[in-house]
């Protein structure tokens, strides 16, 4: 019996997802829509922040959202109250969105009628990190009741994000979180990342987030021109 052959492969495990994500990103760019995904643990405030963002951006921009959950259409119903087009992706047992789910959900959407598309991932600080959805910006949220060390416990998701948002700022005093330490921990696992603080409840910090997203969109449009 002869020796087995060794075949060098060097292939990305998520090659197919990466390929789909690249083609989505190209589609988004051609349509001129900025796509922003939100990741966080369950209950960190993704849907509440998005409800507010959709409502406030809607007066000046054409906005829409996809929202992923294992089950129920509850979040889509909440987001639809903003008046923006919203579609729920139910993943069944899958703990994250992947590019093929986004592609399927967008099959019958005309993206060129949109300025911003938000994608709310399944609430999970581990699994979504590996899957590129073709988004332009990935926002990671951490809420003040979660404490200072979440970034150290879940470094990968913070490391794949472009912007970090500390939510539930109105509860900071009650939860005795040290915002300085939380910010340092985010920066330690993702050096150089911009960190915003806000409360979707009181509206504090919302203007800065909106301005950040809008200026990012304008910069991209300027580069594309």
């Amino acid at each position: 019996m002869s020796e087995p052959r060794i075949v060098e492969v060097r292939r990305k495990i998520l090659k197919e997802n990466d390929r789909l994500a690249r083609s989505l990103r190209e589609r988004f760019r051609q349509a001129g829509v900025v796509v922003i995904s939100l990741v966080s643990s369950p209950g960190a405030g993704k849907t509440t922040l998005l409800e507010r963002l959709l409502s406030e951006l809607r007066s000046d921009y054409r906005v829409a959202a996809l929202v992923g959950d294992l089950a129920t259409e509850n979040d889509a119903a909440r987001l639809a109250r903003s008046g923006a087009p919203v579609k729920q992706i139910t993943t069944g047992t899958v703990c994250h969105l992947d590019a093929s789910m986004v592609e399927r959900a967008l099959a019958d959407w005309s993206l060129d009628t949109l300025d911003f598309l938000f994608i709310e991932n399944v609430g999970n600080l581990v699994c979504p990190s590996s899957f590129d959805l073709g988004e332009d910006l990935r926002l990671v949220l951490v809420s003040t009741p979660e404490g200072e060390d979440k970034p150290l416990k879940y470094p990968t998701i913070f490391n794949t994000a472009d912007l970090a948002i500390i939510t539930k700022l109105d509860l900071a005093a009650a939860t005795r979180v040290d915002l300085r330490v939380l910010g340092e921990n985010i920066a330690a696992v993702r050096p150089g990342i911009r960190i915003l603080q806000l409360s979707s409840e009181t509206g504090e910090g919302m203007t800065e987030l909106k301005e950040t997203l809008v200026s990012w969109r304008e910069n991209r449009a300027a580069h594309a021109a």
């Binding site: 292939r11 699994c127 330690a188």
Partner: protein, 115 residues
């Protein structure tokens, strides 16, 4: 537990690659998994068995090679292996990493195919 999705992608990728190299039975699949990839080794090994199911890989074995995190430090002007994971801070000078050079790998590196 996204390791099952990862394992299913490994099986698809291996079957495609193996198809290009004849009809021999794949005996061992070597993958490289970076510490920063967020993939748990034991969960991946378990998921791989499930994902192989009734595919031609059912008798294959998965070998996982860990990849340490390597950062580029502009202070030291060089690459440094990270000992203080998950902190992306240079162990030598304490400054923040400018970029991750290695550690986010998730790749099929090679196959051992029966002759």
């Amino acid at each position: 537990m996204h390791e099952l999705s990862i394992a299913l992608s490994i099986v698809d990728g291996v079957l495609e690659e193996a198809g290009r190299h004849g009809t021999g039975q794949v005996e061992v699949v070597y993958v490289r998994v970076g510490r920063l990839s967020g993939v748990d080794k034991d969960a991946l090994l378990f998921s791989y068995r499930v994902a192989c199911g009734d595919t031609p890989l059912v008798n294959s074995r998965l070998e996982i090679e860990d990849v340490e995190v390597v950062i580029y430090c502009s202070q030291c002007q060089g690459e440094r292996t990270l000992r203080s994971f998950p902190l992306l801070i240079c162990d030598d000078c304490g400054s923040a990493a400018n970029r991750v050079v290695h550690g986010d790998e998730l790749e099929i590196s090679r196959l051992e195919i029966a002759a």
